[in-house]
């Protein structure tokens, strides 16, 4: 089903779509009004569902024909059995969960692979604003000020790589974005957003027993 009216395709949605095998099952944590899920349903033939806290966003999702559950992204994953989905997505929502490490662990339990998109706090603009401007950075991917930001955690691409190494999480794919183009060199300096596809590096124990 292709809806007649669609907002301009978001570049990050296309990048995420390219990371997903057609026909997969997908859970989008913090799916908002369901634009990404609708894109993936229409173009990647995924069987998708979402978790979303905003009641109005739920109505928008249902209108798009999506299955969505009203709940918060911190506790939402606990309700799913192991490896129910091929992919669990946190696009621009991981920085808003209370405890990201636990959320990522849960996501890796529920999904075979996890896709995380987040704003890079150490973009060159942000660095200049802190260093020379002396204020908390405001960039296209971090457009908020300290008093109205929904973001609880601020991280750089480097931080996330270090985290994955320490947590023994395998990075499958990674794409770095600046506005509508892909950044290939020095992403921690020039990328506004990062999208990682990760998976558990160690095989699940039931893989051996099976």
């Amino acid at each position: 089903m292709i809806s007649a009216k669609r907002e301009e395709l978001r570049f990050d949605h296309k990048v995420i779509g390219d990371m997903i095998e057609p026909g997969s099952t997908v859970l989008d944590m913090g799916c908002g009004t369901g634009d990404l899920l609708e894109y993936l349903t229409d173009n990647k033939d995924v069987k998708g569902s979402g978790v979303e806290i905003s009641e109005d966003a739920i109505y928008a999702c249902v209108e798009k024909g999506l299955s969505v559950s009203h709940g918060d992204i911190d506790s939402g994953l606990r309700e799913y059995p192991d490896k129910l989905f091929n992919y669990v997505i946190f696009n621009q929502t991981m920085q808003q969960v209370q405890r990201p490490r636990e959320a990522i662990r849960e996501a890796l339990r529920v999904g075979e692979r996890v896709i995380i998109g987040f704003p890079n706090f150490c973009h060159i603009k942000a660095r200049f604003q802190i260093f020379l401007g002396g204020h908390v950075p405001v960039t296209p991917s971090l457009p908020y000020t300290w008093y109205n930001t929904p973001n609880l955690h601020f991280l750089s691409i480097k931080d996330f790589r270090v985290f994955c190494r320490e947590q023994k999480i395998k990075i499958g794919k990674s794409v770095f974005l600046a506005e509508d183009r892909i950044v290939r060199s020095l992403p921690n300096l020039f990328a506004l957003n990062a999208i990682f596809q990760i998976s558990s590096s160690r095989k699940e124990s039931n893989d051996h027993t099976g």
């Binding site: 089903m1 569902s49 009641e55 739920i58 109505y59 249902v62 209108e63 798009k64 024909g65 999506l66 299955s67 969505v68 559950s69 009203h70 709940g71 309700e79 799913y80 059995p81 129910l84």
Partner: protein
């Protein structure tokens, strides 16, 4: 009401299904009924393939008259804002069926029906029924229409319990299920409120052990039961907004009359209820709800194993009688089985009554959910 509405009124009649002679209807308790009547109404047309049928299940005090107008009546069916052309249950598209539950008093077999063995109303000799019995009776009606699979089964409160029971007992006959403000088992608190209502009826001398059909009915008892019910259907917020501490005469009278607006309202609701409802039915139907327990001793997630239907569960933020937490337990158990489920907790001050009042929000969800279910059915 606007003038134009009166002319556009859709008139409907309640029809009656009779179990064919010689057949028996065996209840969950093992008791068999040799006669079974089911009062029902339908709206819209059943398509040739019989794939567009939606069953609406009513709550404790509801009946088969869910939508449209009965000739000579000023008020429409109990869920009229939801059922009709272009509405959530779009009768241009779906064939909508609603039937009175077994044990009820609006045309289906119940304690006020004639006992064929005695020629008198059953009264308490009517067997105890369960939500499963209600559903099995509805199944008879659906079979009578030749419908193999319902596009959806939907209901609020006790109607939601029936919808869940349908999905569990007849998984092959249900493409989607919409439990609203429902629960998977009656909690101690829910049983407690029902028992107070029953005791109010039984304490009325006119109740006479359930044998009152040829004398004065236990109206006082039933009225008190309904008053208790109404308190549980509203929220603290909605009561405060509607009545506050308003006095009917504007000042205190220092006497035991109904002085506060809220007292007058409850008495009014109680008095109108006794005109349309049978006290014995109130006992039977509340008992059926109290018996309702899908989980039994097992895990709730096991109950939903192997169900192919998709679900839309709806709860209301201020509903303390069937709180959202109970709906969330259902949703969780469905997810654990990988069942396609959508859940929404609608913000509302109306308490449990919200399922009858918040039509716009429910329409937004149900209309599109049904549309998707219909399209998925076609794609198969």
């Amino acid at each position: 009401m606007k003038m134009g509405d009166a002319r556009n009124r859709k008139f409907v009649v309640t029809k009656l299904y009779n179990l064919p002679k010689g057949e028996e209807f065996v209840l969950e308790s093992g008791v068999a009924l040799s006669e079974l009547k089911i009062a029902y109404e339908t709206y819209g047309e059943l398509n040739r393939a019989k794939t567009n049928a939606v069953l609406i299940c009513h709550a404790l005090s509801g009946d088969a008259h869910a939508a449209g107008y009965h000739a000579g009546e000023k008020t429409p069916g109990w869920w009229d804002p939801m059922i009709g052309p272009g509405k959530a249950f779009d009768t241009d598209r779906y064939f909508v069926v609603c039937s009175n539950v077994i044990g009820g008093c609006k045309g289906s077999s119940g304690p006020n029906s004639m006992n064929p063995d005695t020629g008198r109303p059953y009264g308490l000799s009517f067997p105890i029924i369960s939500v499963r019995d209600m559903v099995n009776a509805q199944k008879k009606l659906i079979d009578f229409f030749g419908i193999k699979k319902l596009l959806s089964v939907c209901g609020g409160s006790m109607g939601g319990m029936q919808a869940l029971q349908w999905a569990v007992d007849h998984p092959g006959s249900v493409a989607s299920c919409i439990p609203i403000a429902a629960t998977y088992k009656h909690s101690a608190q829910q049983i407690a409120f029902d028992e107070v209502g029953r005791q109010a009826i039984m304490a009325d001398p006119s109740w006479n052990g359930g044998d009152y059909y040829s004398s004065e009915h236990p109206s006082r008892g039933l009225s008190v039961a309904r008053m208790i019910g109404h308190i549980t259907y509203m929220s603290n917020e909605s009561m405060d907004q509607k009545f506050g501490r308003m006095l009917k005469k504007g000042k205190l009278g220092y006497e035991f009359t109904s002085e506060f607006e809220v007292e007058g309202y409850l008495r009014y609701r109680g008095d109108t209820f006794v005109k349309r409802f049978d006290a014995n039915s109130y006992l039977y139907v509340t008992k059926a709800m109290d018996y309702f327990d899908l989980q039994k001793d097992g895990k709730l997630s096991h109950v939903f194993k192997g169900i192919g239907a998709r679900f839309l569960a709806i709860a209301f933020s201020s509903d303390w009688l069937y709180p959202p937490a109970q709906s969330r337990e259902i949703v969780k158990a469905l997810k654990m089985n990988g069942i396609d489920v959508t859940y929404c907790e609608i913000t509302s001050d109306y308490g449990h009554d919200a399922f009858l009042l918040e039509s716009d929000e429910q329409t937004k969800l149900i209309k599109h959910f049904l549309d998707r279910t219909r399209k998925q059915g076609k794609a198969r």
